[in-house]
């Protein structure tokens, strides 16, 4: 069946964000979590001007028809049929009857989704040990952010500046197959590449019993298209700094921060803190572990921060606990900003 050119043009003119919404993607401020990779901070951006989407991590992108193809794993025709049905765009078939066809059966596992990465604790532990703090990372953590060295050391934060050196070392130590299986090293058109954009900081996530459960990176370079944070984990989402619960007694004061940087600032201020990965991700199975502490939070002064606080409070009320909001001083956007300003003021 041929789809008329004018219909293809019409389908590609359908508002990209509405198409994404119909596909079940949660679009916020022209961004959404990528469906092609294990995404934790929205990597897809929508351009309503160009009516296209793009994931800055996987590099996939295109117009509305391409979005349906990528999301559902359908061919071009199937995607057009689905769009036509969803947005009431009809066209006559060869026999001049009004076209109608059932939407193609959804393929639950697309080509990309089949690539489930194995979080190999041994490989990642080796990576964390190898990724010592180098100069750009020290500059960022200690001179720009004024974080305390003992906090950074205790949390075993490291850095990777040269990705090629790291790939060589990883392949030499574990072999190419293992590295590819972990997802830490990937194969692209020009050979092997490192999953995390470099130069970057690496933040290891540990379970309460000290097992490594995930690694998050924080990009330190100048490429504006690179995602600021990337995440590799054995489970979907976890709380950062869970081992701190081992030093707390029931009823002790504990802060929940939105993101690692705020958490580091709180810890550097001598407070006990854990972090949710982002305002939109609440690792509920870990959060339940916090219900017996006196919980506080400095919500970021933006809509997402306020929403995260409301959701956290909702969660804890339903679990017979409470999280209380602390108010940041005027003119600061989050606790990290407050911490930096405080340290600049005190010289």
């Amino acid at each position: 069946m041929n789809i008329p050119q004018n219909i293809i043009v019409r389908l590609n003119e359908l508002p990209i964000e509405e198409v994404a919404d119909k596909l079940g993607l949660e679009v916020r401020r022209h961004k959404a979590l990528c469906f092609m990779h294990n995404d934790h901070s929205p990597s897809i951006t929508f351009s309503t001007y160009k009516n296209i989407y793009r994931c800055w991590v996987c590099g996939v992108g295109g117009g509305p028809i391409k979005l349906v193809q990528d999301k559902e794993g359908w061919n071009f025709q199937e995607a057009c049929i689905w769009l036509g049905q969803k947005f009431n765009v009809w066209w006559p078939d060869e026999n001049n009857r009004h076209f109608y066809k059932r939407a193609p059966t959804k393929k639950y596992l697309t080509k990309h989704k089949k690539e489930t990465m194995l979080f190999d604790e041994e490989v990642y532990t080796w990576l964390i040990n190898k990724a010592t703090l180098l100069e750009p990372a020290k500059m960022f953590l200690f001179r720009e952010r004024h974080l305390k060295e003992e906090v950074v050391q205790k949390l075993r934060i490291g850095s990777v500046i040269n990705s090629l050196d790291m790939i060589d070392a990883l392949v030499k130590r574990f072999g190419e197959d293992v590295c590819l299986k972990t997802g830490l090293v990937r194969r692209g058109d020009y050979g092997l590449y490192f999953y995390f954009y470099t130069p970057c900081l690496l933040f290891p996530y540990y379970d309460q019993d000290g097992s490594l459960i995930g690694v998050q990176s924080r990009y330190l370079g100048t490429n504006e298209k690179a995602p600021r944070f990337q995440f590799m984990s054995s489970q979907k989402t976890r709380l950062y700094n869970l081992p701190i619960l081992n030093c707390l007694d029931r009823g002790d004061k504990l802060y929940i921060s939105e993101g690692i940087t705020d958490c580091l600032a709180l810890l550097s201020d001598g407070l006990k803190a854990v972090a949710i990965p982002s305002a939109t991700i609440l690792p509920k199975e870990d959060l339940i572990l916090l219900k017996n502490y006196e919980l506080h939070m400095y919500p970021d002064r933006d809509e997402a921060g306020q929403k995260a606080f409301v959701e956290l409070r909702h969660f804890f009320i339903n679990h017979y606990s409470m999280v209380r909001a602390e108010v940041l001083p005027e003119g600061v956007k989050d606790y990290c900003d407050y911490y930096i300003k405080k340290h600049k003021t005190h010289g």
């Binding site: 409070r313 009320i317 606990s321 409470m322």
Partner: protein
């Protein structure tokens, strides 16, 4: 601040369900030191708060015109409650108890009454929110006054944004079970009742406040007259 400026500032504020819950959860900490916060009150605070949060969430989700349309609201609640499989499971589990005489029927009747309770609560909280937003727009009286809704929610009129502070009267918490879309409103200063009305429509609280301000103005004139004499 002159009257006009105050009015302009006040108009910017829109009291929401989130703000109402913020106010409600803020109070128990203030009450902690008081002798009436006995063990029972403290023990029951969290489960009561879960109920309040659930009702406010529900009221918020029906905030649009839905809550005024009886059929739509009833259908929306029926879909929610009947669609809740865990609630059905819980009903079965509770009914399998000698104290309930293993009576499944009793629990089914309770479910119908429960839906009625939810519908009434949604209407109550939505109407109260409309009333509170109306109170925000009113000028502030000289003395500190409180407006109490059906002995459940007490709203203090303040001069600081958001210009009202609400607290839930936890001792009267169980009145929530019998609340209806029509309810009593009283205006009081400390423990003195100044005005009261039965609220059936939004204009009732407006009339109540107007008559209260009229009374206040008359009283002040009388005082000034006496002072002059």
């Amino acid at each position: 601040m002159d009257e006009n400026n105050k009015k302009t500032d006040l108009e910017k504020v829109n009291y929401s369900f989130d703000m109402l819950l913020n106010d409600i959860v803020a109070v128990p900490t203030e009450d902690k030191g008081k002798p009436e916060s006995d063990d029972k009150n403290l023990r029951e605070y969290q489960p009561k708060l879960i109920v309040v949060q659930m009702l406010l969430d529900l009221a918020k989700s029906c905030k649009t015109e839905n809550y005024k349309d009886n059929v739509k609201l009833r259908n929306a609640i029926k879909v929610k409650v009947d669609g809740d499989e865990q609630l059905s499971g819980y009903m079965f589990f509770v009914s399998q108890n000698p104290q309930f005489d293993y009576s499944w029927n009793y629990m089914r009747k309770c479910k119908t009454n429960y839906m009625e309770f939810l519908i009434n609560s949604i209407r109550f909280f939505n109407n109260v929110l409309v009333d509170i937003n109306m109170l925000i727009e009113k000028p502030r009286p000289e003395r500190n006054i409180h407006v109490v809704f059906h002995d459940i929610l007490e709203v203090e009129l303040t001069n600081k944004e958001p210009f009202v502070k609400t607290r839930l009267l936890w001792d009267n918490f169980y009145r929530l079970a019998t609340v209806k879309s029509d309810y009593n409103i009283i205006v009081k200063a400390k423990d003195t009742l100044l005005k009261a009305t039965s609220r059936k429509e939004p204009s009732d609280i407006e009339n109540l406040m107007d008559s209260f301000f009229e009374m206040e103005t008359t009283n002040q004139r009388k005082i000034q007259k006496n002072e002059t004499v």
